[in-house]
């Protein structure tokens, strides 16, 4: 595994134009994996822990931001206007 990195490092020294390639591909792959991880762990549509948190979609607060990014909605300002069960 480390020999592979050493080989790549040697190739980079002779062909430095490959460095931007690693940056873009590596960055893209990292961002995809991070977002997939966020989806797996924090998405309220999926139930992992059947004992302690069997239905995460029922535990969302009215002002909890469950999406990654908001444009116009400020979730902290939202009011709770539905009944409790």
């Amino acid at each position: 595994m480390s020999s592979m990195f050493r080989m790549v490092g040697k190739q980079l020294k002779t062909h430095p134009s490959l460095i931007p390639l690693f940056i873009f591909i590596g960055g893209g792959a990292t961002m995809s994996m991070l977002y997939l991880g966020r989806l797996a762990l924090k998405n309220p549509d999926v139930s992992w822990d059947h004992k302690n948190n069997p239905e995460p979609w029922n535990n969302i607060e009215p002002n909890q931001q469950y999406k990654f990014f908001t444009v116009n909605t400020d979730y902290s300002k939202l009011k709770k206007d539905r009944p409790d069960f």
Partner: protein, 230 residues
């Protein structure tokens, strides 16, 4: 509405559609520029008298043609993701309308205050009055107020349909057993047309959607008269 020989998107009548048109123009411009450059490159490569039978190498150009496309893609992705998240936001709707797709008509329910429910069948071609649009007019239109966020809850009764109004930038599948939500804001009073956008049987092309937007002050009168009629 659509017109013959139309090439582009319909004019926007909601802020979301305006954003979509803007981002479409941005992305299409980039695509056309890139395609032009590639076409020119191929043309000059194929017609040149300068030929070299040895392997050539160039560090500079390799760096450039890695970084430039990467930057271009980032410039496309950032506005695109922004509009994608913006389309998902539900922004305090003033009104909720439920629409159910059937074979082969739409039914609308306004249950916020009183129970207003009606079906919306296409007007057959032989029954059209001069000036009406073929395959787009319906006997009862869905009426909404302007400048008010409207929440649509969309489902179907039998098979999958899709509720689409291109000028508002709305398309959402109507799936039996599932409730889909979308919102829109109409910028000005007019009548907007759309057609069912998921194959649903023999009369899939003959179950259009027509939305009539009227100023908010007249909306109550319209709903009351509709309630009295139905």
């Amino acid at each position: 509405m659509a017109y013959p020989l139309q090439l582009g998107l319909q004019d926007a009548t909601s802020p979301v559609m305006q954003e979509l048109i803007h981002i479409h123009d941005h992305t299409l411009m980039i695509a056309l520029l890139v395609s032009t450059m590639v076409f020119y490159t191929i043309l000059t490569t194929v017609t040149t008298k300068l030929t070299n039978k040895n392997m050539l190498d160039s560090e500079g150009i390799q760096t450039i043609w890695t970084i430039a496309p990467g930057l271009i893609l980032i410039l496309i992705a950032m506005p695109s993701l922004r509009v994608l998240y913006m389309m998902d936001e539900v922004n305090n709707p003033h009104l909720t309308v439920k629409t159910i797709g059937h074979q082969w008509y739409w039914s609308y329910e306004y249950t916020d205050y009183k129970n207003l429910e009606f079906d919306s069948y296409m007007i057959p071609t032989q029954d059209l009055i001069p000036g009406q649009f073929r395959l787009l007019e319906t006997d009862h239109r869905m009426v909404v107020p302007t400048d008010s966020p409207v929440r649509m809850l969309i489902t179907a009764h039998d098979v999958i349909h899709s509720w689409a109004v291109p000028t508002l930038g709305v398309k959402m599948d109507a799936i039996p057993g599932r409730l889909n939500q979308t919102t829109f804001v109409v910028s000005h009073p007019a009548v907007f047309y759309g057609q069912c956008s998921e194959i649903c049987g023999a009369n899939h092309s003959f179950m259009p959607i027509s939305v009539e937007a009227i100023p908010l002050i007249h909306f109550e009168d319209s709903s009351t008269s509709m309630l009295a009629k139905i």
